[in-house]
């Protein structure tokens, strides 16, 4: 029986992000991108979740982020659950 | 007479520390204070307390910093060159407001000098050998009994004000033996809510002296200065001897004060009304007490085992009101009563 594909939600604390780009570089699924048009209070073009559905919850972004910007949650499996 | 024991000054300090509730001792050997470290090595473990021979004086003072930060009573001791190495640490300790006790059994300097007694580290002790505006409370014993008592007191004082306290002694006080009544009073115990004990059920505590945000360090400094004024008001100690009608005031501390007292007795036998004002706390300095005698006193003679260090504090107190004379020996030399007497005679116009 094939496991149902898990889905994840990423919570990005954008004010903390320094746009170092490490999460972007280490994400195996190109989920993340640095903003091209917005900056946070410190002037950084913080990270944005560009392809949320692609996330596999591998936490690579978390492991490399020096500023503990990203939190990850496993979404409930029911349909229609994603807002 | 109560039961007395014969001890040398270094051991008396050590036993005073133990009875003063010293929990941790960190030291590094150096003459002429080795008996102190040796005594602690033997006795601290017997009391279930901590003795560590540090790898250096620098390490020792920073171990004290750690232990004091953790809220226990901690102490180190050394002699002149070793105390110089502790100056950065002392500045940190004063800046972080940590209570601790440090003993300097002074020897001849500068440099490696020799191991004979000296009072050449007065400036370092009272003005601040480290960087920045800070103060140690500095006590100067003049007997083995006081070596013992002041050390025990020092821990209480340190805790009361969250401030380092120095016992400023010299090789002679460290090496000589005298009868001693051992301290029985219980140490004062104060709460230390600021100490590092694990942030359980309270906000975290931080021990620090780094304040990089604009103006914060200045505020800290102002608070320190306020504390120092409070200490000066409450803890200035002085020992006047035959001062009631003295016209010649000898000012001396520690080893030199004993000599000065003998000279004062001697002078009186010869008709010179001499007395001794012995500063017991070197910081805070007994400036007011000293000034209180200036209306009667005609001459002041300061005696030190230095080129003239404490004499500056005397002159700051006197402000030219009375002539201030000086007799000093350096580099391990100790004044003789005869020389002091000769100087007294010279000053009072009785030169023989």
């Amino acid at each position: 029986m094939a496991k149902p594909k898990k889905r994840y939600r990423l919570a990005v604390d954008i004010e903390r992000c320094k746009a170092c780009g490490l999460c972007v570089a280490y994400c195996p699924r190109a989920v993340l991108e640095l903003s091209r048009d917005r900056i946070n209070g410190k002037g950084y073009p913080f990270v944005e979740v560009a392809a949320p559905d692609a996330c596999i919850g591998c936490q690579s972004c978390v492991w490399v982020c020096p500023d503990c910007v990203i939190e990850i949650f496993e979404s409930p499996q029911e349909e229609g659950d994603r807002s | 007479m109560s039961k007395r024991v014969l001890m040398n000054g270094n051991e008396a300090v050590a036993e005073g520390a133990i009875r003063g509730g010293c929990d941790c001792y960190f030291g590094y050997p150096i003459t002429p204070q080795n008996e102190l470290t040796a005594y602690m090595a033997m006795h601290m473990p017997r009391h279930g307390r901590v003795f560590v021979q540090a790898e250096s004086e620098v390490a020792a003072i920073n171990m004290v910093y750690g232990a004091a930060g953790a809220g226990v009573r901690a102490m180190t001791s050394s002699s002149s060159p070793g105390v110089s190495l502790k100056q950065e640490g002392l500045s940190y300790i004063a800046g972080a407001e940590l209570p601790m006790v440090i003993v300097n059994v002074q020897r001849g300097g500068p440099g490696l000098g020799n191991i004979d007694p000296s009072q050449g580290d007065y400036f370092q002790a009272v003005k601040g050998g480290g960087h920045g505006d800070y103060r140690l409370i500095v006590l100067a014993p003049d007997s083995v009994q006081e070596m013992h008592d002041f050390t025990a007191d020092a821990f209480d004082l340190a805790d009361r004000y969250r401030n380092p306290v120095m016992i400023l002694a010299d090789g002679r006080l460290g090496q000589m033996m005298e009868p001693l009544i051992l301290r029985t009073r219980e140490p004062e115990r104060v709460e230390k809510p600021w100490a590092l004990t694990g942030a359980r059920g309270r906000e975290k505590n931080i021990i620090r002296s780094y304040f990089s945000v604009d103006g914060v360090l200045e505020k800290r400094n102002e608070a320190l200065q306020t504390k120092y004024r409070r200490i000066a008001d409450a803890e200035t100690r002085v020992d006047p001897y035959l001062m009631d009608d003295a016209e010649l005031m000898l000012v001396a501390y520690g080893t030199c004060a004993r000599l000065a007292k003998a000279v004062a007795r001697d002078c009186r036998a010869a008709g010179i009304r001499a007395g001794v004002l012995r500063p017991v706390s070197l910081w805070p300095y007994p400036t007011e007490a000293l000034r209180s005698y200036l209306d009667r006193v005609k001459n002041i003679l300061v005696v030190e085992m230095s080129a003239g260090q404490m004499v500056e504090d005397v002159r700051l107190a006197v402000e030219g009101a009375v002539p201030v004379h000086f007799h000093g020996r350096m580099g391990g030399g100790v004044p003789t009563t005869a020389d002091i007497r000769a100087k007294a005679d010279e000053i009072t116009g009785r030169a023989r």
Partner: protein, 255 residues
Amino acid sequence: MTTTTEKPVFTRPQTLTDRPMAYCPGCGHGIVQTLMAGIIDELGIREKTVGVAPVGCAVETYNYFNIDMSEAAHGRVPAVATGIKRARPDLVVFGYQGDGDLASIGLAEIMHAANRGENYTTIFINNTVYGMTGGQMAPTTLAHQKTQTTPLGRDPETTGHPMRMSEIIATLDSPCLVARCAADTIPNIRKTRALLLKAFQYQLAGQGFSFIEILCTCPTHWHLSPKDSMDYIGRVLTPIFPCKTFRDRGAGHEG
């Protein structure tokens, strides 16, 4: 099996405060300190852990960790940690040090704390430069690496070769755990976490001194982007500073 509510996969460790870290973008200090916070959470020791912060870029670590902490004079972290641990053996104590702090000015202190087998954990951040003061040569600076004080590159003939601290510490008998790892790739960061966890566990078991050296980026003074800095660790640093466990006495026996 399906879940009905969101399940946290990774959330911010409780041991971290809300204060943003003042490190440069992509700095290795942040990676390691996030790991440490997670470990303190995992072991449930936040309320009995005391950290000692160095002078260096990590000087304000006490702002980031929600635990009791002490500052230490430059290089004296091991002495301060010794003082704390001897005073209160019930606390879990760690010392956090940079390579200037630990391998240069504080070399005597770290060696002697290690030799005494002080029962605390050392986290050694080797970024091959003095970060805080503007990128001067550290004892771990590579041969020919350019720094503010080796403007033509470090000359090993006159300034020495990079010091391999783990190897040096491992010559001593007392330490229970001595290892070098790197905060560069995901597997390496995971290994780093495992080592740090082990070090704290050994301390809890009374095993004595543990020493975890972590190769970390300093994008600012390496003059590389954060990602290039990460790659530089694997490409340039690890051949000279091999990641390996030099001593692991194993847990089990007290003292």
